[in-house]
Amino acid sequence: MREVAIVGAGMTRFGELWGQSLRDMFAEAAVGALNDAGADHVDSIYVGCMSGGQFVGQEHLGPLMADHLGMTGVPATHVESACASGGVALRLAYMEVASGMSDLVLATGIEKMNDGADVTNVLATAADQELEVYYGVTFPGLYAMIARAHMAKYGTTEEDMAWVSVKNHRHGAMNDKAQFPGEVTLEQVMASSMVAAPLRLLHCSPVTDGAAAVLLCPLEQAKEYTDRPVKIIGSGLATGSMALADRADPADLDAVQRSARSAYKMAGVGPRDIQVAEVHDCFSIAEICCIEALGFVEPGTGKDAAREGFTALGGCVPVNTSGGLKSKGHPVGATGIAQAIEVFTQLQGKAGARQVENARVGLTQNMGGSGASSVVHIFQGV
């Protein structure tokens, strides 16, 4: 396999982008990535999107997006793994370059959630329709059950979870792409309206439109496009039981553990080597479970990390310096690529006010459904 680097990135602002359709957002992000690298062509395109079909009635996204990039003729593939669609698109783009099949590949993620679709029902299609959704559970409801299992097993509290939201909004306040860049207080989180007990509104990521794109090429060609390429040194994808009831323990995200294990093994690094990470905080409890599953902290101790500053900027492993899904926004299919852009920017030393000093090795973790799929990537500055 060839070594592979990211050489360019582009993304839209995240938010309620009433004036932009799915294709408009795609074109803005993709052109941004091409311009960032000074590239005028690509050999292949991957489009991560959870549900163009249900959100805006549009499938067959590969050719549509190639067309709107003025690149009809180029191979283009739609990738779906619920909220992990973007991360899986990145993995496939990485594999295509690493294999030698293509040199210049665009990995993108898009989602248009604010065009009038019933978001609760569409998101629920990432859960088990026959065994879960049929009985009236929602997506926040599933994570609420994970939260309550974590609370019962490890003593995690509602306040511990609220600290994750406070921390991520503090980070997001420094990100001009973020949907909700304002800071929130612990009291505001704890007093926000209940969505699915014990999860309140400010424990939940918002409903977001957005697109993100990164350009990949063989490391040996990277200097043609940028002074500061970022190498992809590990990629891991794993599955877990679809239904929460079928997991060995609903408090543990075992697919996240498995995906991390294979990414660490491939990269030849461990959790102690990670200096900056973007982690799938679709709900505050998810960040707590994920930093445990990724090995940043011991199982059961994730609850203390945000409050004590371990995962804050300036802490031991800054997590979600972009603001995370919570503050930056969560256009589901775009999230995995946007995470990679944050780490790419950090490892290039271009993150401005939220720069992690001397960051050399970073990680992204992107999750689908209530944890039935997880994809981890590890990056290194060159």
């Binding site: 019933d118 609760t120 029902n121 629920a124 026959e130 065994l131 879960e132 959704v133 049929y134 009985y135 009236g136 559970v137 929602t138 926040p140 409801g141 609420a144 059950m145 994970i146 309550r148 299992a149 019962a152 309206s193 209940m194 969505v195 699915a196 007990a197 014990p198 999860l199 039981s241 239904a243 929460l244 009831a245 079928d246 609903p250 408090a251």
Partner: protein, 130 residues
């Protein structure tokens, strides 16, 4: 919505039929073709006891449209004495009292009305054991 689906689901939804793997003994609900634990494909049918213990739970305050009139309502993962786990609502009580460890009986109830024609969908719901 086509009706074959509702007929097909009668054994699991109406009779709580599960499969016990002849290879490793794991009880899967509903029955499957292949055992998720040992990949054997030989099962015997078992009827789950109509009771169980709450493993984890939540109270849904923001429901899907079909459940709008019922919110807030409790949902739980319930484990039966046979070791099968299933997702169910827990009703006939204050939803905030439904917490891990609670004992419930599983009772046959209307779950939802589906689609424009309002097809009646049945299944089981948990009710706290007094």
């Amino acid at each position: 919505m086509p009706s074959p689906r509702y007929t097909r689901e009668i054994p699991s939804r109406y009779r709580l039929e599960a499969g016990r793997c002849k290879g490793c003994g794991k009880v899967v609900y509903p029955a499957r073709r292949i055992c998720p634990a040992c990949r054997a494909a030989d099962f015997e049918t078992v009827n789950l006891s109509r009771k169980g213990t709450v493993v984890t739970s939540t109270v849904i305050h923001v429901p899907p449209d079909e459940f709008l009139m019922e919110a807030p309502y409790a949902m739980a993962v319930v484990e039966t004495p046979e070791g099968a786990r299933l997702m169910t609502q827990v009703v006939d009580c204050d939803p905030s009292t439904v917490l891990p460890g609670m004992e419930v009986s599983l009772e046959f109830r209307l779950i939802r009305k589906e689609g424009k024609s309002g097809i009646l969908c049945y299944g089981h719901k948990g009710v706290p054991v007094a």
